[in-house]
């Protein structure tokens, strides 16, 4: 390959690359409060809430790490829009195993409201044992 063609190709390539780099958009950045960064660096995690904290109210029911069913508005479907609630609960309760199928003696009921919760408990054979909010609580297998 002649030196001239090589040089022309290189010039075009690098000119194009420099243009692409210089014209690249600077993503909009939301300023981060220094307290958040300090909390991360020190390990105190000030300003952050534990992942899955919304399930902290259920923790007192599980002093021992047993398996429990996680009862949602619908039977388990990985494509359901609210499925992240179950995954978040599982992440929060690790190493306890949350079974999405109604197979365990105890269930965490986490439905949108009490009427859906009642319907789901009836379908799956559970009865409410403790209430933790509207449509939320602990149920035991009948």
């Amino acid at each position: 390959m002649s030196k001239t063609i090589r040089l022309v190709l290189a010039c075009v390539f690098y000119a194009l690359l420099c243009l692409l780099i210089l014209r690249s958009k600077t993503p909009e950045v939301r300023p981060v409060p220094p307290e958040l960064i300090q909390g991360l660096l020190s390990g105190s995690h000030r300003g952050y809430v534990e992942f899955g904290n919304e399930f902290s109210g259920f923790k007192k029911y599980f002093p021992e790490k047993i398996h429990a069913t996680f009862l949602m508005d619908f039977p388990f479907n990985p494509y359901a829009p609210t499925i992240a609630q179950y995954y978040t609960a599982q992440s929060y309760f690790v190493p306890m195993i949350l079974n999405p199928e109604p197979e365990e003696k105890v269930a965490i009921v986490y439905c949108t409201n009490h009427s859906i919760a009642d319907q789901r408990m009836q379908q799956t054979g559970y009865r409410l044992a403790a209430v933790e909010g509207d449509g939320k609580g602990i149920a035991v297998k009948i």
Partner: protein, 483 residues
């Protein structure tokens, strides 16, 4: 700064492994290469050792992993200090190839220095911008994206919270978190959590940053060593403006670490072919194995890496006995992390989307070649996602142009200095994903929308390296690299 302990310890472990392997090597800019790879290799090794410690001792796995890693570090240190054979090479360990600085100032040298200085300023600006964006994105989304929350960090919690029940992560009830997924990333995260005694929120984004920055710096190292410094700096700047890498780096997904290991394995293999040293072949194999210990796609890559190394050795005019030694070195390195993968897939988590799915080879064959409509959808997916300008800033278009130029005009040169290796790796990786998409148990449109962009990340850095090598005015000659 509680995170400094695990960070420094993993860096030292990686450093010792690499220093032992490369102490008598003729690899160009060795110190730079070693500093880029040290932390990721250290984290990978910690993860491998942790897995075996948990397998062996479960409830005492945490303690045993510290003992194992400590002993490994001590052995490597003693080996490095006591068994160093060549003092000349040792003295030269931190040598950086800046010969152009020492040359008599002529027009070419001045131009090289000016271009390098301009490219360095550009790189500092772009990298600074990338770091600022990464910090902001990570602080606001400290738990990472979907897979980070519900796969990688979830598995790390099993390692950290209750070693006695760590095997809970393989239970079928947790099928959503893919029990058969490899554990390099969860192990690397749990390593620091075990060290600190708490689930450090800063650690997963820090690991993500190490791998992303490492990938960019590997591009810089390769092009600096084999093309020119300014070419490396421009390529590295270009890497850090690519929207896809900016976005996915902060999500803490395993795709960036697997991209790092694929890139490092292939460029190490390229360096190994050029130097003909068995320790570098071993390292290339080890890095390919670590890719397999990071994601299932890495297992596919490991097979391609074996094929590419076999091809490269076949094309090399060296005697067959030497070729056998080099091939064995590569397989030896590859085998260490692969043992973890096979133990995980065969003993711990027997079912998976592909391996252990119960489907026969003939079923896979008919899935791949049996549906023209599906093939069309997948091809359209590749075309659509590869040409999205905002996502890739034209990377894949550049790669295809480089392929055309390489095949038509620079064929001889590419064959002579083995520059075909990254291009073939990119093509094989993408062909593999193209075939696997056919066998996906998920709905194909959903699969493409959720996975294809991430899959394209894996070979992007290699595509970038090949493009720059083809379009750059001249590669350094072997004598210039190894005086």
């Amino acid at each position: 700064m509680i995170f400094l302990g695990p960070l420094v310890s993993s860096f030292i472990l990686g450093f010792l492994i690499l220093a032992n392997l490369l102490k008598n090597s003729r690899l160009p800019n060795r110190a730079m290469f070693l500093f880029i790879l040290a932390a990721p290799v250290g984290l990978g090794t910690c993860s491998i050792a942790m897995f075996w410690a948990y397998v062996a001792a479960a409830s005492h796995g945490k303690g045993l992993s510290f003992v194992l890693i400590g002993l490994l570090g001590a052995y490597l240190l003693i080996r490095l200090v006591l068994k160093s054979k060549s003092k000349a090479v040792q003295q030269n360990f931190f040598h950086l190839d800046l010969s152009w600085l020492k040359k008599k100032p002529d027009k070419a040298a001045l131009l090289y220095a000016l271009l390098s200085a301009a490219a360095f300023i550009l790189f500092c600006y772009i990298f600074g911008r990338f770091v600022r964006n990464f910090i902001a994105a990570s602080c606001w989304e400290i738990f990472g994206g979907w897979d980070a929350r519900f796969i990688w960090n979830l598995k790390a919690k099993f390692f950290f919270r209750s070693p006695a029940e760590w095997a809970g992560m393989f239970r079928q009830e947790l099928s959503f978190s893919h029990p058969d997924y490899p554990l390099l990333l969860p192990g690397a995260i749990a390593w620091a959590w075990n060290w600190a005694g708490k689930e450090l929120l800063i650690w997963p984004p820090l690991v993500a940053f190490l791998f992303t920055a490492g990938t960019g710096l590997l591009i810089l190292w390769y092009l600096f060593s084999y093309v020119t410094l300014w070419s490396g700096l421009v390529a590295c700047s270009y890497f850090f403006i690519i929207g896809e890498y900016q976005f996915w780096s902060a999500t803490q997904y395993a795709d960036i670490p697997v991209c790092f290991f694929m890139t490092s394995s292939i460029i190490t293999l390229l360096a190994a072919v050029r130097t003909g040293e068995k320790s570098i072949f071993f390292l290339a194999g080890l890095l390919a194995g670590m890719a397999a210990w990071t994601k299932n796609e890495g297992l596919f890559f490991a097979a391609w890496a074996v094929l590419i190394s076999a091809g490269a050795l076949c094309l090399n005019p060296m005697p067959w006995s030497d070729k056998k030694i080099l091939a064995c070195s590569f397989i030896g390195g590859l085998g260490i992390p692969l043992l973890n993968v096979f133990y995980l897939k065969i003993i711990q988590a027997k079912t998976g989307d592909y391996l252990g799915s119960g489907r026969s080879a003939s079923e896979y064959f008919s899935l791949v070649f049996g549906s023209g409509a599906k093939t069309q959808v997948i091809l359209n997916g590749f075309q659509t996602y590869m040409t999205k300008f905002d996502d890739w800033n034209g990377l894949w278009i550049l790669f295809f142009c480089a392929l055309l130029v390489g095949l038509s005009i620079k064929r001889k040169e590419i064959l002579e200095n083995s520059s075909w290796i990254p291009a073939v790796a990119v093509i094989l990786i993408e062909l593999g994903y193209f075939a696997v998409m056919h066998a996906s148990p998920h709905e194909i449109h959903w699969q493409i929308e959720t996975a294809l962009l991430r899959l394209l990340l894996h070979a992007g850095a290699l595509a970038l390296i090949f493009s720059f090598e083809v379009f750059s005015p001249s590669s350094r000659s072997e004598t210039e690299i190894h005086p």
